[in-house]
């Protein structure tokens, strides 16, 4: 029921689909487009594992219906690297052991890229507050904070 046509750009490519209006953006990405890098970790819009960019702004894809995004531009973790070259924020996470099991990582990186967009030199306190919507259970956040700091620096130094 309620088949809605929607057309949006995902990682630079236009995609069109006819969808049940209930289809959450995260399910559209994972199941219709097979972009499984965006993850589901909770059901109360808190964990942030589903974070993508919608029109350049990080948002929780578990709380947006795909049909809402007519003509929107969505970027997922799969769209962040430049071909074989990792994005500087991805490199920073690798260089600073900012991930362990990897499940929260895509969401963290999407938010971290936005931190770099808005801050030149975020303090540790600012980074920690900006990560309040991204839960991690493995790393204790210590190295994620380090990674974000290094990633912001790398992005602004280039």
């Amino acid at each position: 029921m309620s088949d809605n046509e929607v057309s949006m750009k995902v990682n630079g490519s236009t995609v069109s689909a006819k969808l049940d209006s209930r289809t959450l953006l995260v399910h559209f990405l994972r199941e219709h487009l097979n972009l499984t890098g965006t993850h589901v970790g909770c059901d109360t819009s808190q964990c942030g594992a589903c974070t993508v960019h919608v029109n350049g702004i990080p948002a929780k894809s578990c709380s947006i219906f795909a049909v809402q995004l007519e003509n929107a531009e969505v970027t997922t973790i799969e769209g962040v690297a430049n071909g074989n070259d990792l994005h500087p924020m991805q490199k920073a996470f690798r260089d600073n052991h900012g991930l362990q099991c990897g499940y929260c990582t895509p969401g963290m990186i999407m938010q971290a890229i936005d931190i770099a967009r808005r801050y030149d030199k975020p303090t540790e306190h600012e980074i920690r507050h900006e990560l309040e919507g991204n839960l991690c259970r493995c790393t204790g956040y210590h190295n994620i904070v380090k990674s974000v700091k290094a990633g912001v620096k790398a992005i602004h130094d280039t």
Partner: protein
């Protein structure tokens, strides 16, 4: 040399790009049906009737299955792998656990029926349409009340809620010591119920191939071979007919070891409907159905002489196991727990009486620390309170009682022997790193301004690396506790290692490769690691209990050593020299004093394709080692932390946290630090905010989502100051000890002690965990007689 280096992780690329393959990501060539479960809303009830007709007729529904269908199919119930006995050989009051409840439900969230449908929403809709009528019974989820006369009995056939009562240590010696004590401190120290909450919920995918009568099961699990073994009992599938694959797993922490109701029923459903079936839990399902942890109620006493030396400690503990035992059964509270009751202290007499009990709550099983954080917590809280009562600096009192280096190996009063450590060095390092003396000065200055700063500490051992199979069998284990590695050198000289451990964040692809590369003398890039597939890896025991390095890691090392032993013989033969004349250079083999050399790849090729070989040397270059460790190992640590307490709101700010760990040889310091960080935060969560809360009257589960179960976030925490000190474990050639659980053992004690240190002067001596702002505020009010 790779060992000891902070080698960057080889597994990161795929995770960073979003190319990890977790169970919910797996795609097959055929469409996958969805499973959903009907779960009971009652804590305790008889099942009067289950009607599935309405659900079965709903759109897209392929099947509706109940516990009765399961039994009719001839399948079994779950049994555990660790049936503990008490000292007299009396077995625990164990019951088998149904996967789908048939007669009765005993905890909120227990599975009663299962729906398989074409899509997720159809399955959820139909699961809600299964009609179950219940006869609701009184319920009890309060641990300390489980053995009350009027407590509802969960398992009528037992006639009791007691699982097992065990006594440890020497009651006589303890009573005597208390009678001579110059000071006694008593504290009630419950350890709160928490749950693992890995960000990836449990997820299972089952597939049945009727042509070959072969099953494939993808499980978000920490121990795929153990899962396969469970299936021999639950679905009665012989092991050679079932392939269990644990792909990328998004955190486990011990919770992903249990044979959950969803596990065998998903595979069964795949056979029933003739299509692959997947179930991925929602977070609400996780919080109520993942195994829970801790939930002890302990009364502790400690006795001192006039010099502040500990004479004895005594504990009476009631430990909840939930509605059914976990896979580790009564070992969590009745075996593992007591082993650490000496913590880092020289305590001549200890006595612990532990009663494991059934309550109407989710089953309790292993979670990072598994019984041992509770032990450290209760000991450390006693010592902290004693220090304040005696007016002795809390670190000074601990230093007076530390097990000294010259006392090692130290046999504790609970008959566990710590083999190597140097606690005074750890304490010195921790005090220096935390700037302890300055902290006390700062504390005093701030108190004059009405700011309540507290400094907490703890000193402990862990018992890691379970363990020698014989020892574990004696403690009740029905499984081996070794681990396995197959080192396969290909004719090209590249290497694949198949290991029975399973990394779900612990970086085995990097660290096992570091070990192998060093032992083989080759480049780390020439090595691939395979874990998590029962078709490819020999029987392994999986990753839990800080055990993989000292079992699987050692198996990797020994298998690599055996490879080199064989390679040396072949190389010597090829170079026409004696083995003693060979030196390893740049991965190859060179005759000493000459420039005659061959590469590792040359030898590998010869191993498979050269007939001219030494007498008796078998073709091939592959070694499998099942490494059964000689002993558990005993890492140790000292933690110091700083909190600021706002007495007006009870708010706690954790400002600093210092940890100095002795984990023996460090394979990768970067990976080690990450493990410590993660464990610390889980421990801090337990101390400050996490709780699986049950209504004390109805047994209703209240912490159903992250809106009520508080997860620590980056903004709640400081960065950590870590250091290490190495004493080598004498029982394994690499000198390694486990490290993964250190944080969860120490942090609850350290943080809670800091809070008590901050507000002792306001008349507060104890706040129950989690020490939330509300509780702290009330404790301060009550102390002031408000």
């Amino acid at each position: 040399m790779y060992i000891g280096e902070p080698v960057l992780r080889r597994e990161d690329e795929k995770f960073l790009r979003g190319k990890g393959q977790y169970v919910d990501d797996i795609r097959l060539t055929e469409p996958i049906a969805h499973a959903a479960y009907t779960r009971t809303p009652h804590a305790h009830a008889k099942i009067v009737n289950i009607s599935t007709n309405k659900a079965a007729s709903m759109p897209g529904v392929l099947a509706v299955l109940t516990g009765r269908d399961w039994l009719d199919a001839g399948f079994g119930e779950a049994d555990g792998v660790w049936p503990v006995k008490d000292k007299d050989g009396k077995t625990a009051n164990t019951v088998n656990r149904p996967f789908l409840a048939v007669e009765k439900v005993r905890y909120v969230g227990e599975c009663v029926a299962m729906v398989i449908a074409e899509d997720r929403y159809q399955a959820l809709d139909a699961a809600e349409a299964v009609e179950v009528s219940y006869d609701v019974l009184p319920a009890n989820a309060v641990t300390s009340k489980a053995l009350d006369e009027d407590a509802p009995i969960l398992h009528e056939e037992l006639g009791t809620n007691l699982v097992l009562e065990t006594h440890h240590g020497n009651k006589f010696a303890v009573d005597e010591a208390f009678s001579k004590a110059s000071h006694i401190t008593e504290v009630e120290v419950p350890s709160n119920r928490v749950t693992a909450c890995p960000i990836e919920p449990r997820s299972y995918l089952g597939h049945y191939d009727p042509i070959n009568d072969q099953y494939t099961f993808w499980s978000s699990t920490q121990a795929p071979h153990i899962v396969r073994k469970y299936f021999t009992n639950s679905m009665r599938i012989p092991e050679h007919k079932l392939r269990v694959i644990a792909p990328d797993v998004g955190g486990g922490f011990g919770m992903k070891l249990y044979h959950y109701p969803e596990e065998p029923t998903v595979l069964w459903a795949a056979k029933v409907v003739g299509k692959p079936v997947r179930w991925t839990g929602t977070r609400s399902e996780s919080l109520v159905s993942d195994t829970h942890a801790r939930d002890h109620f302990t009364r502790g006493k400690i006795a001192f002489d006039t010099n502040g030396k500990i004479l004895a400690m005594s504990f009476r503990t009631m430990a909840a196991y939930g509605a059914y035992e976990g896979q580790f059964q009564a070992s969590i509270a009745n075996a593992y727990h007591y082993c650490l009751l000496s913590c880092g202290y020289d305590i001549p007499a200890i006595y612990a009486e532990i009663k494991g009990v059934y309550t109407n709550s989710t089953p309790v099983d292993a979670y990072r620390g598994a019984g041992r954080p509770e032990a450290v917590y209760q000991v450390e809280r006693l010592i902290e309170n004693a220090a304040h009562e005696l007016g002795i600096d809390p670190l000074e009192l601990r230093e007076r009682n530390l097990i000294q280096a010259n006392q090692m190996p130290y046999k504790t009063a609970v008959d566990i022997t710590y083999n190597v450590a140097d606690l005074p060095v750890l304490m010195t390092k921790a005090k220096k790193l935390a700037r302890y003396d300055e902290l006390r000065e700062e504390q005093e200055n701030l108190r004059k301004k009405g700011i309540y700063m507290g400094i907490g500490t703890c000193v402990f051992f862990d018992m890691a690396g379970a363990g020698p199979t014989k020892m574990m069998n004696e403690l009740g284990a029905k499984i081996g506790c070794y681990d396995v590695a197959s080192c396969r050198v290909h004719p090209s000289g590249k290497v694949t290692i198949f290991a029975g451990s399973h990394s779900h964040g612990q970086a085995h692809e990097t660290t096992w490769s570091q070990i192998a590369a060093d032992r083989l003398g080759c480049d780390i890039e020439d090595i691939e690691l395979v874990e998590g597939d029962t078709d490819r890896v020999p029987f392994g025991i999986g990753t839990w209990g800080s055990r993989s390095l000292s079992t699987a890691g050692m198996a990797v090392a020994v298998s690599a050593d055996r490879i080199i032993e064989k390679a040396n013989k072949l190389a010597a033969h090829m170079l026409e020299c004696a083995v003693e004349d060979l030196i390893r250079e740049e991965g190859g083999f060179t005759v000493k004093g000459t420039d005659r050399s061959i590469t590792f790849a040359d030898v590998a090729d010869a191993a498979y394709h050269r007939g001219d070989r030494p007498e008796g040397l078998e073709i091939g270059l592959e070694e499998t080692v099942f490494y059964d460790p000689k002993d558990c190992n005993y890492p140790s640590a000292v933690h110091i932390c700083v909190v600021l307490v706002d007495p007006k709101t009870g708010n706690v700010t954790l400002r600093d946290y210092t940890a100095v760990d002795d984990v023996g040889t460090i394979i990768n310091p970067m990976v080690l630090e990450g493990q410590v960080h993660g464990g610390l935060v889980q421990g801090i969560g337990q101390a400050l905010m996490e709780e699986c809360a049950y209504d004390s009257e109805t047994g209703q589960y209240v912490s159903g989502t992250f809106m009520d179960y508080a997860m620590p976030r980056a903004s709640d925490l400081p960065s950590f100051a870590l250091d290490s000190y190495t004493t080598l474990d004498p029982d394994n050639p690499l000198g390694i000890k486990g490290a993964g659980e250190s944080g969860t053992l120490g942090a609850p004690a350290c943080v809670c002690n800091a809070i008590v240190d901050a507000i002792w002067g306001l008349g507060v001596q104890q706040v129950t965990q989690p020490m939330t702002p509300r509780k702290i505020w009330h404790a301060i009010q009550n102390a002031n007689g408000n």
